[in-house]
Every structure is written in C-alpha cells, then in structure tokens.
Amino acid sequence: MRRIKIFGLAALGICLAALAAPNMSAATTPTVIAAPSGADEMKVDDQPGYVPSAESEQLDPQYQRQMVFYRTTEPPGTIIVQTSEKYLYLVQGGNRALRYGIGVGRDGFQWKGLVKIARKQEWPDWRPPPEMIERQPYLPRFMAGGPGNPLGARAMYLGATVYRIHGTNQPDTIGSKVSSGCFRLINPDVIDLYDRVPVGTRVIVHQAPSVEG
C-alpha cells in the first residue's frame, strides 16, 4: 500500500476542534470508545497546501467507490459507517449499498452512535484548534477552502458533535486510522456523496466489538 510522508511530530487530526476529549450532546448520544491499538494506525501530519494528483486519488480496489451487496433494515438514504472496515455505506435499498473507502479516527478517537447531518459546506475553511497550533506552530491559523485544504472539497457536519464527514488532500490516508474521529473520503468521493445526501440524513456509526470488559 502507498504511504505518504510521515512527519516526526505526533500529529493531531484535523477535526479535533477545540476539545481534548470529545463531549457529546445528550440528544445525539454517540459513545466514545477506547479501542485496542491496531497496526493500521497512521501517525501523519496534515499537509496544508498539498494538492493531490488525480493519480494519487486512484485508490486500492477495495477502497474504490462501488455498489455492493448490503442487507440492512435501515431505510435507503441512511449512511452507515463501519469504522473497523474503513467503509462508509450509503444504503440504496434492495440489498445494496454504495460503498466508499474512508479514513477513520485513531484509537482513542473512535466513537459510535446515531447522528444526523446538520449542515453541509462546499470547500470548507480550516481553522486548526489551539491544541494543534501549540504542537505544530508552523500551521496556518486560518486556511480558506480550496484545493490543498486538509478538509478537502466538501464537509458534512454530524449533529452537534465536533465530527464531520469531509474530503482530504491526503488520499493515501484512506483505509487508515488517522483522524481524530472524523471520516475522510477522497475529494471525488466526498463530492459524489455530498450530492446524494441532504441535511437531515441519518448517520449510524458502528465499531468493532472489543474483547475487553
């Protein structure tokens, strides 16, 4: 699998926002999970300004957008995120779903629950939170939306949480645990998804079961 440049600093993901420990509103009640460490974890800094080539957005076959068999009782239009598989499913009905390869939260930054898309934004701006600035002082304080922005081409804000489904300028992070709880898709995929789902779409986030406890 292709890897991008690994920087020396332990990086915070791009959607930690201003919260050290994500605090959920009671209305959405997602649960933050302490998952066991995995080999697919990736320590990687954001690369503001880096514009991915079309070639680098050619994913490994299993992470390419595709229609798959998917049996569920959830109605068509629902988004289901299987964090452990690094897949996001858009339920189509008739035992099928459109499946996208994603990057997910690092261990300790994973969560599960039911939320709804509260807001949608094309080419979102990026404001690294103070914790990130402290650790990576060279980061810009503000970066206007556009190619090269770590949030990518589209963002869908999940309920009242700090989490989003968004694009990325780092296609090689798809299939990895890299973020601080957000779900990232390559820009062509996040644009495709964005155009298919309205505000109010239900998003169900699943986690692998843990043997602990």
């Binding site: 998917y70 099928r96 692998a208 602990e212």
Partner: protein, 345 residues
C-alpha cells in the same frame, strides 16, 4: 453452479457391497475423532487447485478458505494446524471418497444440496462461503443492477445449472436476453472479451477468477446481485455425530469469533476477558470443548492458528488476496451479510 451429471455412487457402493460384505460402504463409523488422534493427523479432501479455496503453491504449500478450515479443525483437535494432510480430489469422486472413510473431512468448495446428503449419507456442517450466480459487465456508470440488463447478450457455460438460472431470472423479471453458450467457462470468457456478448454469467467466485485473466480486469465489474444459491461448505459422514459436531462448531467458532471481535492478533487478550460470551468461546467458562472430546481451549487454538472468519476470508478470497472479492453475502449477519453462527452457550 452444478454440473448436470449423475455420479454412480449408489451403484458403485452396491457393487462393492456384494463383493466386500459392506465394509467399504459403511466407512469409519462413529470413531473418527479417535481414528484421527491415533493417526496423528487429520486427512482433508480438497480441490486439486482452485485459487482462493484450495491450491498448492510451487513448493507444495496449500492455501485457501477450505485449507484454512482444515487447519482450524486440526488446531482444535491437536493444538497444531500443521497436523493435516491434504488429499486433492476430483469433482466426480469427492463424495464417494468421503463416504469410503479415506478422508475425515471434505472441504472441496462443494455446494450443500439435499441429494448430496441423502444419496451419499453425508452431512454438511456449515457454509464457509456463500456463492451464487452473478453477472460481470463492462464498467459503466449506467449499470448498477442486473435488472438493467434488458436486451443483453449473455455468455454462459452450457450443460450446467447456470444457464437454467439465467433463464429463470430474466423471464421472471420480464427481461429479454440472448444466451451465447460455450462448452467451458474459459470459452465463455473469451467470447465476452471478443465482444460476442456484453454480459458474462457464472458463480460470483468464478467471475472474480475469470476477471483476473482478462486483459484489463479493472475495465469490468461484477454486479452485486446474486441470483442463485450455491452454499459451499464442509461435509462429513452422517454416521458419526460426535465428529460432525466438532467440525460444525469449529466453523461456528470462527464466525462467532469475528462477531465478538476475537482475532488471531488478540487471542491472548481475549483469554483475559471478563465478557461472558468471549470467555465461553475461549474455554474459560463452561466445558464445551471436553463435551466434544476436545480440550477446553479448542476454539482459541483454531482462532490463533488461522484467524477468525473475516481474517480467513480477506486473506484467501477478499481484499488481501488476488481475487479481491467483496464480503457481500459472506459479511456477518449484523454487518450487511448473512454469515450467522448459533451462539456458544
């Protein structure tokens, strides 16, 4: 797909009966576990070479889903996944060989059907791969479902149930089609590549294997629709229920392990779990293993050796293999598929 041919098993057995007074036809009655332990190895009947299911590499090392299931049974019995001998068998002979007692388990990408149990005195213990007939088409954004194949020219192998399923599916969905029959899968693929048809149909696992042989595999997609039932599973003799239980629960243990989050990488962690379902599977609570004639850590040994069902799938036929078949039907029941194992309790 099933080949439309009647094997002469019953006849063969009857003639053997008259010669050998029944000995050859009863097989090893109800003593398989003891025989396996005394022998010091499991004998597994497998395919001569079907990538993803059972195939030897150039050094003679076997791999595939069926192979891993044999190793899992060996690990459950002996604590050692290497104590298994693979006996490659042809399609025509495989059920007779199992019945004769020359092998302990048949793991030969065999479709579980009623007649195979009743005609040969066999029992299928579970399904390690849900296969079924599907469709391969040229990659295009327009076609996402087999229901959009109206007017298609379909390449198909003749003399199999595949062509019947094709007819049933298109007729029942009011779709027109033209079948272009060939005597082999490979010829059907060549016809498709030569443009004599725009759809290729076979069992989904076959379509992925055929796609690998195409000039540019990425130009073709296999639709998610599955139109027939080809549950591939492991078979044992009907007359030994203890042995059938063992092979069956090894299968269920691998599936339950995935559902519970137990993998080859965290077996040791799972051995310290306080979760009741994990503890029972690991043999920490209850005496499930001893009641089958095995040690209490039978399942833990199997999982440590070959991984849980998901690990086996991805390694042999899924995203970590050349075939790259999506989980589909073989995803766990609570993750979008139909793989489901009764609980251990």
């Amino acid at each position: 797909m099933s080949i439309r041919k009647h094997t002469s098993a019953t006849l063969l057995c009857a003639s053997l009966l008259s010669i050998m007074a029944g000995a050859a036809c009863n097989g090893a009655a109800a003593q398989t576990l003891k025989a396996v332990k005394d022998r010091g190895e499991l004998i597994c009947g497998v395919s001569h070479g079907l990538p993803g299911f059972a195939a030897p590499d150039s050094s003679g090392a076997w791999s595939g889903i069926d192979v891993d299931y044999c190793r899992a049974v060996a690990a459950a019995v002996f604590h050692d996944p290497e104590k298994v001998r693979f006996m490659p068998l042809g399609v025509e002979e495989r059920f007779d060989v199992l019945k004769s007692g020359k092998i302990d388990v048949l793991a030969h990408n065999s479709t579980w059907t009623m007649s195979r149990e009743t005609d040969f005195g066999l029992t299928f213990v579970g399904v390690n791969y849900y296969d079924g007939q599907g469709f391969l088409v040229h990659r295009s954004p327009e076609i996402a479902s087999a229901l959009e194949l109206d007017g298609a020219k379909v390449c198909v192998q003749k003399g199999t149930t595949t062509i019947d399923n094709l007819e049933d599916y298109f007729k029942s969905n009011n779709l027109k089609y033209e079948a272009i029959g060939e005597s082999s899968q490979d010829d059907a693929r060549k016809d498709y590549e030569a443009g004599k048809c725009n759809v290729l149909t076979s069992d989904v696992s076959q379509l992925y294997a055929l796609r690998l042989q195409m000039v540019n595999p990425r130009d073709h997609v296999i639709l998610p629709d599955v139109i027939s039932k080809e549950p591939l599973g492991l078979a044992v003799r009907q007359d030994d229920t203890q042995w059938a239980e063992i092979v069956k629960w090894v299968d269920f243990a691998l599936i339950n392990a995935e559902e519970l989050g137990i993998s080859s990488k965290n077996v040791d962690e799972a051995m310290k779990s306080t979760k009741p379902a994990v503890r029972r599977l690991m043999g920490l609570d209850g005496d499930f293993g001893p009641k089958m004639g095995l040690s209490s850590d039978w399942a833990a040994n199997a999982i440590r050796a070959v991984g849980n069902y998901g690990e086996i799938y991805e390694r042999d036929v899924g995203s970590k293999s050349k075939l790259g078949i999506p989980r589909g039907l073989n995803e766990l029941w609570n993750l979008g598929g139909i793989q489901y194992a009764p609980p251990i309790r």
